[in-house]
């Protein structure tokens, strides 16, 4: 009797664990991880996509899981949703199924070819389908506007004006009021790659240590006098904004959304400032891809088709604040906070001096070390006050080695290169 009971328990346990894997399409995503967002995905976005098991994974664990499944040859994941930069190492190792058929259909259905082409990751076939996009903007409490320097247009700020604004706010409140997400999980490295370097030097890699870059770093040091020192602890700027620790902040739209959606009337959202070479900005792109050996390709294809319909894309924008990859108009009854963010994105893209900084291609799994080059330079120049020229020479050498090791060619705004992107 005892034996039968234990066998039954064993069998039911095995079934309990095995059955969802058999019946459902497993969709692993590094995006929309917070529980509220994941619930939106499960209950709203994937409603018409059949039986889908939506699993979220932190980016490093995602990389490990995909590598482990590929090495073991035992695949459970049918669909992955991740950032451009997270999918690039998988594509480099040939672990993604080509999706050209699907891409053709979407091109006909209103996805711009320029966006679709990013999903090729520099390869001849479509590696992933662009899923949703975002970018980085600045947000300020309305009470900070009174300190804005005279004659400054908030939608066309320059670095000099931002510095003066910071000085005015500090003089009036006694505390630095500008914040950046320079904490361990913050996206500060993207500020340097997509905003700081393009604005001051017109490049990202080629111009890493030139005279323009040195001048830019001096300007950043001047700005940093009015940036709160707690910035190196901030990961998501919505928290210090909401708690009143800072009045002005730069961050990813999804990392500002909670504060702004909670009190849309208290904030203004506007493009990042411009430097001597223009107003740098970096689009963020998340994509959907099917790993080679996926157990349920048909189910995965159906999920991709569902997520790229006009209806789902608009729903995604209003619920989680990521914008459509399809060429569609956002509806007027959008969440007020999301509408504010979307307005700033449109203003950034439409500004006369915009300098677009594309996502790195060809770095493979060296994306993290690429970020580290910028963050180390920041730590040494701004936080530890080391001489700019020395640091740029040393970090430039690290950058040059990284580029030769990965043989990554230059991407916009850097001029095209034959072979590895040089540091000039």
């Amino acid at each position: 009797m005892k034996r039968i009971v234990s066998l039954t328990i064993l069998a039911s346990t095995v079934l309990a664990f095995a059955s969802p894997v058999l019946a459902q399409t497993v969709f692993v995503s590094t995006q929309l991880r917070p529980i509220e967002e994941a619930t939106v995905v499960r209950q709203d976005l994937l409603k018409d996509a059949g039986k889908v098991d939506y699993v979220v994974e932190e980016p490093p664990q995602f990389a490990v899981r995909m590598e482990a499944e590929a090495q073991a040859g035992k695949h459970t994941v049918s669909l992955v949703g991740a950032l451009h930069g997270e999918l690039s190492p998988l594509a480099d190792r040939g672990q993604l199924e080509p999706l050209d058929e699907l891409a053709k259909k979407l091109a006909a259905g209103g996805m711009p070819q320029s966006v679709l082409d990013l999903g090729k990751l520099g390869k001849p076939t479509q590696q992933y389908i662009p899923w949703m996009q975002a970018t980085y903007v600045m947000a300020a409490k309305k009470e900070a506007l009174q300190y804005l320097p005279k004659g400054a247009d908030i939608n066309a700020l320059t670095y000099d004006q931002l510095i003066e604004w910071g000085r005015n706010m500090q003089a009036a409140t006694g505390q630095p009021q500008i914040g950046f997400p320079a904490g361990p999980k913050g996206l500060m490295a993207r500020y340097f790659q997509g905003y700081f370097y393009p604005s001051f030097t017109g490049g990202v890699v080629r111009t890493f240590k030139n005279a323009d870059a040195a001048a830019g770093w001096e300007k950043l040091k001047a700005l940093w006098a009015y940036v709160t020192p707690n910035s190196t602890n901030y990961d998501f700027m919505q928290e210090p904004l909401a708690s009143g620790e800072v009045m002005v902040a730069w961050d990813h739209v999804a990392r500002l959304k909670n504060a702004i959606s909670a009190a849309p009337d208290d904030y203004v959202v506007f493009p990042a400032p411009a430097g001597p070479k223009g107003r740098g900005y970096m689009p963020v792109l998340a994509g959907l891809a099917i790993p080679k050996g996926a157990p349920d390709t048909a189910g995965a294809t159906k999920v991709i088709e569902t997520l790229t319909t006009q209806k789902t894309q608009l729903l995604t924008a209003s619920k989680v604040g990521f914008f459509p990859t399809l060429n569609v108009q956002l509806p007027p009854d959008l969440d007020k906070g999301v509408a504010l963010l979307a307005g700033a994105v449109t203003k950034t893209q439409g500004s006369k001096d915009a300098v677009i900084s594309l996502l790195p291609v060809g770095l493979g799994d060296k994306g993290g070390e690429f970020n580290k080059v910028y963050m180390d330079a920041f730590q040494r120049i701004v936080l530890q006050n080391e001489p700019v020229a020395d640091v740029l020479v040393k970090q430039g050498a690290t950058m040059a080695k990284l580029m030769t090791d990965t043989k990554a060619p230059c991407w916009a705004p850097d001029a095209k290169s034959d072979g590895a992107c040089p540091v000039q």
Binding site: G183, P184, T232, D365, N371, R380
Partner: protein, 283 residues
């Protein structure tokens, strides 16, 4: 019975040996190879990468500084707590239970508790403000206040890690025979003399275990520092985590892991030599 079949003891410990070999020795060898190879050939490139990194010297200095400050304080507090509780009759269990609460809290949770106290909008600032000591939010955990940050992390670590030392020391104190103290008292030894000459030498094995355990754990400090200091206070394990997770360079992370292991082993050896325990007193 074992005389007839001398292989029985070996058979009995075989599962645990095999288990350890599989889950400890194999990964250890793999880690060492990962650390000391580059593209499949033996190389010191990863070690060089680690040593020349901007955070290496700082993380070594911070880790040692924290260990040197935290461990002696913890041992002293634990000795005091253990001695005090040994005089208590009723309610002893309750007091011990309360004192060991930090043991049941995960490192990261402890770090977050202290973060909620010490951050700009935290309880500590609220208290100081209500007392009129500060006029506006003061920051304690920023890169501009390294001393306050160090003290905050040390206090959090002491709060979190003293309980385990106390448990070991209380166990040691329980084994000290009452007769020795009574005899010393009859011969006129004061409380200090009794403590230095009788208690301390007799709890040496417990002290040794506590020191080894605490020092090794102090070299592996991570979650509390990560919660409070973030990138402002690099430590060795934190750097290993960054190289593995953020920079995705498993080889440099492996060198850090090997370095931490060497430091821990060296500390253990030093304690074993310095605090020699009479073999007859070993369990």
């Amino acid at each position: 019975m074992t005389q007839n079949r001398p292989w029985i003891p070996y058979l009995l410990i075989l599962p645990s040996v095999a288990f350890l070999a599989l889950l400890f020795v194999v990964p250890l060898v793999q880690t060492i190879w990962l650390a000391l190879s580059d593209n499949g050939a033996p190389s010191l490139a990863n070690a060089e990468r680690m040593v020349t990194d901007i955070n290496f010297t700082r993380s070594v200095r911070n880790t040692f500084l924290l260990t040197i400050v935290v461990v002696p304080v913890q041992i002293a507090i634990a000795l005091a707590m253990g001695t005090m509780v040994s005089k208590v009759g009723r309610g002893r269990e309750t007091i011990l239970w309360i004192w060991t609460i930090p043991l049941g809290i995960s490192d990261l949770a402890a770090g977050l508790v202290w973060l909620s106290i010490l951050q700009n909008t935290g309880y500590f600032n609220s208290l100081l403000f209500s007392l009129g000591v500060i006029g506006r939010q003061a920051s304690w955990l920023s890169y501009q206040t390294p001393i306050a940050l160090f003290i905050a992390i040390a206090v959090a670590e002491i709060w979190r890690g003293t309980a385990i030392v106390m448990v070991i020391i209380v166990a040691g104190l329980n084994q000290v025979p009452k007769e020795f103290k009574e005899a010393a008292e009859i011969f006129g030894a004061g409380p200090w003399t009794r403590f230095w000459r009788i208690t301390l030498p007799l709890i040496r094995p417990a002290l040794q275990s506590a020191l080894i355990l605490r020092t090794v754990l102090a070299f592996e400090v991570f979650a509390v520092v990560y919660a409070l200091g973030g990138r402002n206070f690099p430590v060795l394990v934190g750097e290993a985590y960054n190289w593995q997770n953020q920079n995705q360079n498993y080889s440099v992370a492996a060198v850090y892991a090997v370095l931490i292991m060497i430091i821990s082993l060296a500390a253990t050896l030093i304690y074993l030599k310095a605090l020699k325990v009479d073999p007859e007193r070993l369990p």
